[in-house]
Amino acid sequence: MKALILTDLYQLWINFKFYAVFIVVALGIAAFSNGDSDLGFFFPMYAVLMCSMMGMSLVQLDEASRWNVCAQTLPCSRRDQVTGKYIVTMASFAATWLPFVLLYAVLAILGRMAWQTVAVQSVLLLIVGLLAPAFSLPPLFRWGTARGRVIYIFLVILMAAGIGGLASGLATLDLFALPALPMPLLAVLAVAVPAALFIGSWALSVRWYDKREL
């Protein structure tokens, strides 16, 4: 698996090094526009989303060069191929998410951002960073990039419709009448559910890729 991860790191450096510039710019914008402004949240969200989708881009690059087939002749399993992509995705996400969380913390220490906003925005970035690859990678491993991308877009539309429906349903509810969950439990759930979905996505990708004929 070391060889596969090394390949992905080379691919990231060769093809996506300009993302590092974008992250620095996004950090600058977030710093100077205060983290809790719209601008201070949009750019970090966009940067985290892009970097957490690196796994998807790497799978596409592999298929374009036929490295996905060539890698099967190396002493590693299909499980290694999938796991490598999830590890690189996590690393890429963490390398983007952590600087923004640190920046928010500094802004909070300087009194330019509320600690509660730091927590909410950090968790939201985490949710987006974990869920985007969790939903995008399994279809790619099952159907390949051409069909997998179409299926992923279809899933996103379905999810958006579902969220829209849920939101309109919630609008008619008296939320204050519902029993409120304790804040620590809510925070744990907000992190644990996306993390569990990410792990579940990995397990599904391993299973699906094992069945796929290349």
């Binding site: 080379y10 060769i14 087939v69 002749t73 002493p75 299909r78 004929e213």
Partner: protein
């Protein structure tokens, strides 16, 4: 011990059925897979490597059941597929570091030597190399980790005759070690004729025959005759024919034609072409 064993291997796609294939590659030998486009050569090799799953039958490589997870066996295998798929943006040095991370016995010095000997540019991205140089890079990588078995799918395709000759010599050198074996598929039958101990003919997914090369050349011959003579031969003597405006050329079993018949030696290429024609007739 056999380096590769196939028992009843079958694989179906729409409009194509491979097998059942029974094939052995004895350790220390070179087996050439010959067949026209779509005969099933690449499918057979991909099934052996675990890239595709057979519908039936079994395959084993270096004593391990074939499949995508045969890590130890893969350490001892060098593979060149018909399309060498190193990532497009990588250069030779980066490919070497990846291979060093993959193979316990990766020999950086040997890889560099092959790059020099085969005149492969090291400063260019893999995607910028010609098809021939990409193939040479794949061959250099396959030969640089002390493999015991080479599996080569059309490795000489896209190479000019001079380089092809060099590459065939490299494969020949590889099998000087009695423990080394090669499974090689190619359209270029003349390369296989120089190289192989055994030849297997695949046609439309079926194994027409698998035999020691020297025995094949002893067993079969070519005659030129008229149609009447051909019809007089014993059934089973003729394996394939080719008609010209002047005569009929036939592939025959030497032991089944009357004594005194002028039987000339056959090349593996002629043998294959006439066998396929015979099968179609």
């Amino acid at each position: 011990m056999n380096a590769i064993e196939l028992r009843g291997l079958e694989k179906s796609y729409e409009g194509f059925h491979l097998g059942p294939l029974d094939l052995d590659l004895p350790a220390g030998c070179i087996l050439g897979l010959v067949g026209e486009n779509g005969a099933g050569k690449s499918t057979t090799i991909r099934a052996i490597l675990g890239i595709i799953k057979p519908d039936a039958g079994e395959a084993s490589v270096l004593g391990a059941p074939a499949g995508p997870d045969m890590r130890q066996a893969k350490q001892d295998m060098g593979v060149v597929l018909d399309e060498v798929g190193f990532p497009a943006g990588l250069r030779a040095g980066q490919i070497s570091r990846i291979m060093a991370a993959a193979y316990k016995n990766w020999d950086q010095g040997l890889f560099d030597k092959y790059l020099r000997d085969l005149d492969i540019p090291t400063d260019k991205k893999f995607s910028a190399l010609s098809r021939g140089n990409r193939m040479k890079m794949g061959i250099a990588a396959a030969l640089s980790h002390d493999a015991k078995l080479l599996i080569l799918d059309e490795p000489t395709g896209g190479l000019d005759p001079v380089v092809r000759d060099e590459v065939v010599s490299l494969f020949s050198d590889f099998t000087r070690d009695p423990g080394h074996s090669i499974l090689i598929s190619s359209h270029i039958v003349s390369d296989l004729e120089k190289l192989c101990d055994y030849i297997a003919f695949l046609h439309k997914g079926q194994l027409l025959l698998c035999e020691e090369k020297d025995r094949l050349l002893e067993e079969y011959g070519l005659i030129q005759c008229d149609k009447a003579f051909l019809d007089s031969l014993a059934p089973g003597a003729v394996r394939g024919t080719r008609e010209t405006p002047y005569h009929v050329e036939a592939l025959v079993r030497r032991d089944a034609v009357p004594a005194g018949t002028d039987v000339r030696p056959v090349t593996i290429e002629e043998l294959f072409v006439l066998l396929v024609k015979g099968d179609m007739q």
